[in-house]
Every structure is written in C-alpha cells, then in structure tokens.
Symmetry: T
Subunit: 150 residues, 12 copies
C-alpha cells in the first residue's frame, strides 16, 4: 500500500500568498499542496493536507495520525513557539516527523527562534519556502523506504 504523509499546517497558513509575502513568499497553501502531491507520486508516497487555526485540532490530528498515516510533516505556524500540547502529542506518536517553516525563523523576532516542535521532530527544514515541504517528503520517503537513500 502506498504510504501517506499527513501534512499539518497551523494558524494563518491558510492566508499564505496574501499575508506578508515578503516573509512567506507568494505560494498559496493550495499550490504547495499541488506541488507536494506531484512530488509525492514520484517518491511512491501520497499526501494529505490539513490546516487549522486551532491548537486543539492540531493535537487531535497528531494523536489520530498513526491510525491512517505513515509519517508527519508539521508546519505549526505560531504554535511552534507556544504549544507544549502539540509537543506532547508529537512525543507520543511513533511516526517519523519533519518540521517545516517557509521563512528562516532564526532571522525573525527573538520569540520565533525557539520551537517546541523541534524537541520532537526528527528533522527541521526552514527558510527554503514552499520547496521545503517537498524536501521533507523526500527525507520521509528515504525513512519509509519508498526511495533508496543516496
């Protein structure tokens, strides 16, 4: 069966492409999803995209993920910096997790330098824009064995 990667997007990522494009770029979440689907196919994967502005939704989705998905990509937006609840949900899952940020959070406000998600993620990709999601997919494909590691 084709493994599926659940891609979780946190608050305000639904605004992508319109919100502060000088920071987040002009991709929309839709266009990123489309690119990921295309890329996933080439990697022997499927992807499912979700977005919520609600911390509890993200926690729910992470908790339920292992029943239907084989890996997680998490761009938790602002909850990256504040949500211990999300961290705990990620610590409780067995799925491989890659954290993604569109912008380089280390060049922004001091309070954006710290990530609770990083404490539970296998790897982190930030600052590379929408392609970061695709690179995360490839890293997970290697981990899941659908492509051969270089």
């Amino acid at each position: 069966m084709t493994p599926t990667v659940l891609v979780l997007n946190g608050p305000n990522l639904n605004l992508l492409g319109t919100r502060e494009p000088e920071i987040y770029g002009r991709d929309t979440l839709k266009s990123i999803e489309a690119a990921c689907k295309k890329r996933a196919k080439g990697l022997g994967l499927k992807v499912a995209f979700r977005q919520s502005n609600n911390e509890g939704d993200l926690v729910d989705w992470v908790q339920q993920a292992s029943k239907k998905y084989q890996a997680l990509i998490v761009n938790a937006g602002a909850y990256t910096h504040t949500s211990v609840a999300l961290l705990d949900a990620l610590l409780a899952t067995d799925l491989p997790v890659v954290e993604v940020h569109l912008s380089n959070i280390h060049q922004r406000d001091e309070f954006r330098h710290h990530s609770y998600v990083s404490k539970a993620a296998d790897g982190v990709i930030c600052g590379l824009g929408g392609i970061g999601y695709e690179l995360a997919l490839e890293a997970l494909a290697c981990r899941l064995g659908t492509v051969e590691d270089a």
Copy 2:
C-alpha cells in the same frame, strides 16, 4: 557552464562515521560527498567538498567562494555556535547559502541551539543525516534555476 556548489564542513566532521555515531550516524564525509556528487549531476550541478578544523580556513573559503562557485552549503560544526567571523564572511557574500546539520541541534545541549550561521543562511536543514546535504543541493538547484521549482 555547470554551476558548482561549494560544500564547507567545519571541525570534527572529518571524523564522521566514527565519532559518536548514535548522534551523527554512520555515514562518512567521503560517502556523503559521493552521494552529493551523484545527486548534483542529476540536478545539473557540480559540488566541491572541503573540511577544516580551523575557523580561519572556513572564513577564507567563504570569502573566496564567489570567484569560483555559485552557491554554498555550510555545515560549520562547532563553529556554528561560536563564530561571528564566519557569520561576517557569510554576510559579505552574494552567494545563496544553505546551512546543514546532520543531527537535530535543538535536541542537544542548550549551547548548540543557537547558530550564528543561521543569521546569514537562506535556509537551514538539520537532523536528517547525510541526506540533508542532498536536499540542500536541490534547494540550491531551484534557486540557481538548473531544475524547475515544483
């Protein structure tokens, strides 16, 4: 002309594969270099690998990079956390820069959470092991236009 990416590796990365493999994995710098060369070819790029235990060497190489190279991948090892000199060299270059770490530095000692390199890098990839270098290559290929962005 095929663009070339200079891949700089900082202190102790020459020990890769033998040093604390539970943190850094069993890849050697040689095997990562080989994988990168193979991947680069597919991306329309070339790569040049260097390693030094000496902060000054890394600064020199960054300064001279723009004469012969079109992009930089920087895994500065321990100098990531201490070298303002390297930061300044990176701030002075026009080349695109992707920072790479094999381990997830945010799950290690507190003093490894902060990176001076991140202040000058376009993007950061960490915790994904040797494949992180390859993903960085792909991100740079998009930036340099040798592959089409998804």
Copy 3:
C-alpha cells in the same frame, strides 16, 4: 455605507461583571456593547461584538474581518500574553487595530505586562474600564474619517 468596527473579546470576558469585580469592574460585556453601540452611532460607525474562550476563534475572526469590517478593537484577555497566533493574524490584516484592556495590566502579575497584541496594534488603551472601548471607537472614527480629528 456606515463603517463597522468588529470588537473581539477573548477568554473569560463573558464573565465580566461577576469575575473579580475589584479588578475588572461591574460592567458586563452586554452593557459595554450597549454603550458602544450608542457611542458608535454618534461617531458614524456601527459595531459588532464577539467573544470566545478559544484562541482559534479569535484567529479565525481576525482573518475574516477585512471582508466585512473596517476596523478592529481587540481585548484578547489572557491570550494577550500568550498568543503568537493572534499576533500573526493581526499582522496579516490591513485594518486599523486598537487594543483595549479594562484593567491596568501593568499593575498586575509580571506575566501580564507583556502583550503580543501590542506588537500589531496601532494603539493601546488600558485601565480605564468599559469606557476604554468607547475611546477606542472614537480613535478609530478619526482614523476612518467618520469624525473630524480635533
């Protein structure tokens, strides 16, 4: 068309008038809403009041505000001090924003002195009780041009 100001109220503000009246006063949210409606009329404005105990609701409402409203008054209650998600939503809107607090947050617990909302608000009014909302309306009326600036 009469411009409308969306007035967002965060957690526990539905308890107003009963909760710690020595700090928050004896006005209820209902009576504040009534006073604002009356005042708004005199200023050539309309107001819409909302309250939620849920961080995600506040983020949703801010995101959707610019479609129907011309300005925002935000009393984010406790989320003032903890919600980067709300800050990001406010940074992404083009509407003028005035932050309001009933109590003087600078005379309370240390952790109430810092406001994420202030980083995105045009102005802040605190410590003046329910009339603070009305003064915010007047400031926005000037900004929106429905009254003449003194």
Copy 4:
C-alpha cells in the same frame, strides 16, 4: 444532595496508558475514572470526568462548573504550563480546586516546572500516578464536609 466533583483533563490525557508509559504509567483515563467513582462513593461524593485537547473547552468547563458542581480536580496537561486563560477561569470560580499531575513535573523539562494552575489551586498533588486523583477527592471531601477531617 451528593456533591459532585468535576474532574477536568487536558491535552493528550486521552492517550493515557499508551503514551510514554515510563513517565505516565499504564493506567488509562478510563481506569482512573472507574477508581475515582468507586472512591467517591465511599467519600459521599460523585464525580464527572471530561477530557479535551482544546484550551478553550477547559476554560468553558471551568466557567460553567459552579452551576452544577461543588469542586474541581484539574489535570491540565500541557496547558498547565502555558494557559493564562485557564488560570483566569480558575481565579474566577468559587469552587475548591485541587491540581493533579500523574508524573512529578519537577523532575522533567525545565519548562514543565512552572504551573499557571498552581496559582489558582488550593492544593497540588503530583508524581503519585493515578492514585493522585483519589487523594484529591479525599482532600475535597474534607473541604466539602462529606467526610470528617482526621
């Protein structure tokens, strides 16, 4: 009438028994609820159990508690450390409150040492596993007068 204690459980406590059992033990929330019901009976009390991953739900429940319940037991999970909104709801209630944690939060990550809930709780019990809930019930029974204080 038999007084009823509302037992609120925060994010990820629905995973109890499966999530990091070396930290949280092998009890499930169901088995804890059963034990509490049995103990409550002996103490002249009833208990109502709730769990949510959503900060806003916990705030709502605390706000409404005094209408139907006579006391609160709160294990706010990760919101213990981040939720000023929950603190404010607890400060606004007149019910006696006992905070419970299964693990000894003072032996875990630094950011788990601080509890906003403790600022509003009458007492705190942590590190004793599922029996902590039962001891909290007894403390409340004394407070409510359904058992005689020793």
Copy 5:
C-alpha cells in the same frame, strides 16, 4: 467650579512636530494643547499644559498639582522609563492620573516597553497620536463626573 486637568509633558515633547515625525507625527504640542482646550470645554473641563526637560520640574508639578487641579494627564517622555522619582510623586497624589504616549512604546526599543508611570496611573493610552490626550480628557471627565459615563 470647572475642574481643571493639568497636562504634564516631559523631555523633548517641546520638539513635537519636528522630531522624528515618522514616530511622533506632525502635531506640535501647541496644536495638541489647542485641541485639548476645545475638547475640554465640551467636557466641562479646563486644561493647563506644561512641559519641561527636567525630571525635578515634573516631580515638583505633580506634588503641587492637588492644590489647584483635579486630575493629571502625564506624558513623561523619556522619564517614563527611568524616573522612580516621578513614580513616587504620582503615588503620593490623590488625583486621578491618565498616562499618554503619542507612539506605541511597545513597538519601539526594548527599554521603552517598561513604564514607571504605569505603576501609578489609573489608565494608559498609547500609540494614538495627539488624539490620545483628548481621549484621556474624556476618561477623566467621566471620573470627575462632568460628563455621564456611557
């Protein structure tokens, strides 16, 4: 007798209109005074304006205020952040006090986020430009009973 509000302005506010207008706006202290006088009349109040670059003058004026004035508006400029002497004078007065800042001090340098004046003021209005003084007048009018609270 018409109550009079003493409006105290601290260092560099005499430069208003010429100094960093992108931060402080183009109003002069004179034009603000004129607007306040007009507004005061409508509110059943009188106003007296003073400005000094000298910390001691502000302390003197606060001390003497209760003999001739019924309320204080204080824009202490830079002394906001450094003057414990001014705080002590304000703590010693019985008059109602509203603190005003033209700019949103929470969006400026870190050292401008803290206000000693806020520890003694009933309310704070900042970031709304010159109209902030007028809103402060209205708040004081309510407090003094010369207008009816909404």
Copy 6:
C-alpha cells in the same frame, strides 16, 4: 511486620498552629501526628515523627532511615528551598519518598517555588494542610502494598 513510615519535619514546623496560622493553618504538629497515627493504623502502617531546626539532623535521619523504616514523608520546611545536602541524602536512599507542604508554596514568595526535595521525591503534595500528611501515608501504603491500589 508492620511497615513504618518516618515523617521528617524541618525548621519552624515545631511552631505549627502558632506561626502565621493564615498560611499554615491551626493544626499543631502534635495533632497532625495523632491524625497520622490513626490513619496509619487503618492503612496497615506505623509512623514515627521527628522535627528539627537543624539541616544536619535531617540529613542524618534520612541516612539512617533505611535501617528501621520502609518509607519517608518529608516536609523540609525552609530547607526545601536551600538544602542540596538533604537532596543528596534523599538521592542516596532506596526508600519511597513523598514530599509534603502544608501551604501551596507556588502561591508564596518566588524563592519558595523551587524545591530541592522534589528532585528526589516520588511525589509531592502541597497546599492541603495537615491532611496532606495523611494522603501521603495512603500513597505510600499503596506503594508498600499494605492497601490495595484502587
């Protein structure tokens, strides 16, 4: 043989009932001891009470405890916050340890929020007054198997 719990009480606890009763309640150490003895009997335990104002005595008693006792309850009073020596003694014992405080130390001075004892205790009970000792006894009874866990 009936297991015995050694209950250690630190400085100033001999004053209980007279010292700041609004914080510590009106129970005396004698009355708490009596209640514990009664409760212990029901739990199949015995208790031994000790009190000292001297840090060294508490260290001595913890060191010697395992020869005669099967568990420890420790209310170290002020040494809770300052005694690394006591922490080390507790770390060196194999006995189960429950820390007790009469008051909720998290609602008192900042320097009372940190407990060295918590780093070595299995569980912590605070803020519940004298009954906290009894609840600690029950928790230990479960641990020692003299009562059945619910």
Copy 7:
C-alpha cells in the same frame, strides 16, 4: 569649631508625613530636622538640612559639601535607585557618608532593593523611621571624634 553635618534629602521627602504614611511614617521633614538639631547639640555637632526634587541639585550639594561641612547624611529618595551621577559625586568626596532610608527598602518593590548610594556610603541605616537620621548623626560623631566611641 563645631563640625557640621550636611543632611541631604531627595525627591518627595518634602512630602513626608502626608505621603503614604503607612510606609514613611507621620514625621515631617521639619520634625526630623528639629530632632536632629537637638541630638546634634548633645553630640557636639551642628546640622544643615536640604531637600530637592532635582538630581542635579543633590550632585551640586555633594560637590560643594567639603568646603563647609565635615560629614554627609544622604537620604536620596528615589534617586537612590537610579542616580549614577549622585554616586559619582559621593565617590569624589572625602567626607564620611551615612545613607539613611525611613522605610526598609528591602521589603518594598524589587527595583528599590538596589542602591547606588550604598556603593559610596560608609554605612547604611534603613527602616527605622525618623530616628535613623539621629543614629546616623551619632555614628558620624564617633567618626569625627566629637563623642567617644563606646
């Protein structure tokens, strides 16, 4: 010639007796001056009292003191906590200096715990009310040799 002690009083001390009497007591600066004069006589000293709300005045007076006075008593009020200028003036004088505070500054706001004056004073007396000035006089009398040290 009878040595004279200059007694300097900082901001708001002119309000003594009326300002927050629960902190500063009901003595006025006049009554303290009178008591000091009487006591000084018995100690073979004279005293000169000054008060200003202006930091610069205090600096001026300290600078000029050694021409006419043989010792200093300094109650710098709020400037105690903020004035490096006053510290520098005191460091530059050869006169013996005793710092006095009416209230116990260590039991008040955190920012009142630090005194720049203490870095230059020979001794400090605080929390004893108006008699603190008299005790300072006696300490200086011993230092100046007008009374015999006990």
Copy 8:
C-alpha cells in the same frame, strides 16, 4: 521589669578582631558585648549575647526568644544570605527585630547584597562597625518605650 534584648551572632563572628580586620574592624565580639551592656544600661535595657556557627541554633534561639526577651538584634553573618529557615523563624516572632552588619555588605561580593533577614527585620544597620549594635539598641529602646523618641 527591665526589657532585655537578645543579640544573636551568626557564623564566624566569634573570630571578630582577628578575621579580615580590614573588612570587619578590630573590635572583638567581647568588646562589642561590653559596649552594648554599657549602652543598654543608659537606655533602660539589658542585653544577652549569643553566637553560633550553626544555622539550627540561630533558628532555635529566635523561636524561644519571645519567652524571655523583648527584642532581637540579629547579625546572622553568612546565614544572612542563605537561610530561609532563619527568615521563617523571624517571620514567626512578634518581637521587634533590627538587623546589623559590621561591614557594608553592598560594597562586597554580589552574593552578599541580598539578605533574607531584611525581609523580616524592622530595620537594618550596616557598615558602621561595632557601634551599629549600639545604635540598634537605641532604636529598640525607642520602640520599647524605655527612652523617649527624639
């Protein structure tokens, strides 16, 4: 009956006169005691002197003081900076307390600037050498009414 002041001296004060005389002066504890006795007589008081290197002794003595003494002078030496136990004992006594230090602790190591004793003492005298004890006696004499306040 003549009121008696208990004068407690902490660790190393038995070395007075020999230990670092450039900091503590050349008085011995004996000579200070003699001077205090003489002064006490003139003030209508008696004094009792004690010294211990043991924190627990100081706590014991403070606890028992109110049975035989009418006031306390406390020079807790190094325990000033570390003993919460002593603070708690002092908080529990009704006797007036004056804290004394021979040296000006604010001009010494950073860790000597903070005093737990100050949180419970009515007043503090430091840096004046042995005469500080005598001045403390006088302050207490006023408080106890054996001399008339100036």
Copy 9:
C-alpha cells in the same frame, strides 16, 4: 563662517583633576577646553564648552544646539548610562555627534559599560584622556569638511 562645535560635559566633570585622578587623570576641564580651542583653530573650527550636573540642562542644550552650532561633542558623564532623555534629544538633532569619555568605561563597573549616548552618536572615543576631545574635534572637522580627510 567658522563652524563651531558645542562640547557638552555632564555631571561631576567640573571636578576634573581633583576627582579620582587615578581614573580620570589630572587634566582639568579648563585645561582641556584650552587645548581644544588651540586644536580647533588649526582645524578651522571654533569650540564652545558647557558643563552641568543637571540632566535637563544637557537636554536643553542639545535641543538648542542646531541653531548656533554645527557639531556636538558629548561627554555625558554618569548620564551616559541612565539618560533616555538625552538619547532622545540626540536622536532629534541633525548635527554630527561624537561621544567622548576620559576613562575606558569598559574596564570599570558593569553598569558603566552601557551607553545610551552611543545609540545616537556617530562615533565614540574613550579611554584616551583629555586628548580624546581633540581627536573628536578632528573627526568632526573631516565630517564638516574644514580639513581634508586623510
């Protein structure tokens, strides 16, 4: 017309030559002024010297400087470290500013390491004694074009 440099000197600089000469040297402000006048002449400049112990005077002088002067040299003495008011005045002026200190403030007390003046000054010269003023003059002469830059 010969450009004139206003040289502002802060608190205690009138004591120069007598105050702590091991730190500040034996030059007096008079002798520095004389040397500057001589040097200014050679640089095609004039100088005006002022000194005050009063923060407000320095603010006033900076505000008025641009009417009569073409550049500023500021040795703010102790106000360097505490005066946001002076910083604001300097930020509001268009004149070039060089900050001077006689001593090397980075080798003195920690609280002297930070300078508010540096945030507004073009350049800083410290630790070189009286000649620092002359070097500042030369730097300003280059800036004003009265001498040719090397």
Copy 10:
C-alpha cells in the same frame, strides 16, 4: 615536627561506597583515609580525617584548624554549593587549602557547577575519585616544603 593536614568531609560522604557508586565510585571514606595515611607518610605528613553532615561543624573545624594543623583538604559535599558560612571560615584561615571532589561536578546538575569553597581554596581537584585526596596531599606537601617541588 611532622605537619598534619586536616581533611574535612561534608554531608553524605560517610555514605561513600554505597551511595550512587556510578557517580562516586566504590571507595569508602575509610579506605580513602587509609590510602591518604600511607601516602602522607611518604610525603612527610600526617593526616586527620573528619566528616559531618552539619554545616556548623565544618565551620567550627575550619576555625579551629590553625591551632593544630598546617593545611586543609576540604571536600564539602553539598555544602560546596550553598555554604557562605564555610567560605567565610576558609577566608579567615591562613592555612593552605585544597578543595577536592570525587566526581567531576561540572558534568552534573547545573547547581553543582558553582563552588563557594573554590573562592577560598588555593587549588581544586575534581573528578579523579579517591586518588584526588592523595594528589591534594602531595600539592600541600610541596607547599609546606616536606617534599621538593618537581
């Protein structure tokens, strides 16, 4: 006469060999004493061993040491990190002092990294286990001249 070194051991060191042997090793204090005695002989020294769990005992012993001993070895155990009283006693002695720790305190809890004893000791040896005492003896033998420095 053979010089004697007093070897002071702080709290819990009596447990050596049984307490956390993975940190402290399997030597007992007795076996270390025996080894030291043997080594001392070869170095022309004698040794006296003492241990106490009581801070005051250690202070007493340091105070009295110079009457009978020629040097000190101090392993203050947990008091290393908390005892200013012990520091003061060591500062008051003229004897040479070497601080010893069995474990490398810099690789343990953060609060064990700081040593008050180090502020008064001539040298420090840690992390070398029981032989650290012997090396300390040799260092003292050199200092006392009973062996020739290499």
Copy 11:
C-alpha cells in the same frame, strides 16, 4: 629610532570597501594603510599593517609585537566579541594598545556590543570610519612622546 606601530586587522577586514559598504564605508584596507603611513610620518612614527582571518595569527602577532614594535592598534573584527585568547595576549603585552572599529558597534547586533579587546586596550575609537586609525596613531604618538600632548 622611529617608533613603529603594529596595526592588526582581524577577519573579513581584507574585504573592506566591498563588504556591506553601508556599514563599513568604501575605504579599502590598502587606502587606510596609505593614509596611516602618511599620517604616521607627520607624527614621527612608522606603521606596519597586518590582516588575518585566523584567531591564532592575531594571538601570535600580539605575542611577538614587543620585540619589534612600540605600540599596537587592534581592529580585531569579529574576534573582538569572541576571543578570550586575544584578550590574554593583549593582557600579557606591555605595549600601549588602542582598539579601533570602523562602525559604531553599539548600534549593531546585541552580540557586537561587548568587546574582549576593550578589557585590555588603553583606549577605544569606534564609528568614525577609516580616520579612526589615524586618530589612534595620534593618541599613541602622544603616549610615545613623538608629539607633544596638546
């Protein structure tokens, strides 16, 4: 013999004129050297210029300086903020040292505000661009006596 000043330049200063000219200006190190040589001649001095990106080279050069040079000018670039090794070398030399920075480091990143070099330099000149080196030369000429102090 003409005294020679060794001018040491740290990392990235070889890029001068091309690197971030809005911060560092358009002078090259060559042009600064030329200007210094010219100025040196007029001051009776010679200069020798060196630059390295290597911390160790700077340490070596400082160590060897006193054999051939009479003074040092040090612009350590980024090593200013991180090199304790360079600080130690400077502390060990007897030569007079002036620290120079082209930009005003106090207006840049927080981590550039602190200089280890300042702890060993006689004086500091920053923010004045290339002419700062020349002013440093003049300061050293005065110190070396090749020109007369003004």
Copy 12:
C-alpha cells in the same frame, strides 16, 4: 610498551613565566615539561608536549592523539572558555583526559569560570601551578595501570 601522555597547551601558554607571573607563576612551559618528563619516568610513562595559539591545531592534535598516545592532559588556556570545537574533539576521543589550569580559574573573571573542556574531561586540576601537570600524570598513571592505585 611505555604509554605516552600527550600534553596539550593552548594560547599564550608559550609565554609562561613572563606573562602576569602573579597569576600564572614563574615556571616556564619548558621547566614544566622537564618536571613532567622526570615524574613520568617514575610513573612508567612518557610525555609529549605541544603548544599552539591556534584553536584548529588543538582540535587536530586531539583527533590524532589516539593513534599514538594513551592519554591526554589538556590546558586549553583561553580556548577552555570558548571552544566548542575542542569539546567536540574531546568527546570523540576514547583516551582518558585530565584538564589542568595553573591558576584557580574560579577566582578570576566571571567568563573564566565556565569550561567547555570540563564537559569532556575525566578530571580537573586547577590552581596548583606547575605541579598540577604532574598530579594529572599520576592520576593518568593509575588509570592506565602503570602505577598501583593507593
């Protein structure tokens, strides 16, 4: 084969005997080497001495040490406090490591109290001067089994 200990010396240690002899003593590195060679012989060891001012050299030497040496003594001088690169090299080696400092770094500048080397060293010896190296040799001899542990 005789085991050999590599003794690494960091920056400025080549200056030993001339640099700040009041801190570092009058031994030269040569004389320490001679003493170590003599001592090593008696311990059944050989020693090899190296010194560099270059961080990279120290890293190189540690990396290569295990090929030719059986143990390390590291006095990293200033790199002790700043070099994560050296720490990483030491973490990667299997050789036993003893850290040595001539001076007691805990009695010097605050920034010298922290050692990265200590995080990887088995033991630490500081403040004992040149003999510290010899004691380190003996500790290593025990570890390597060339002498019998006492």
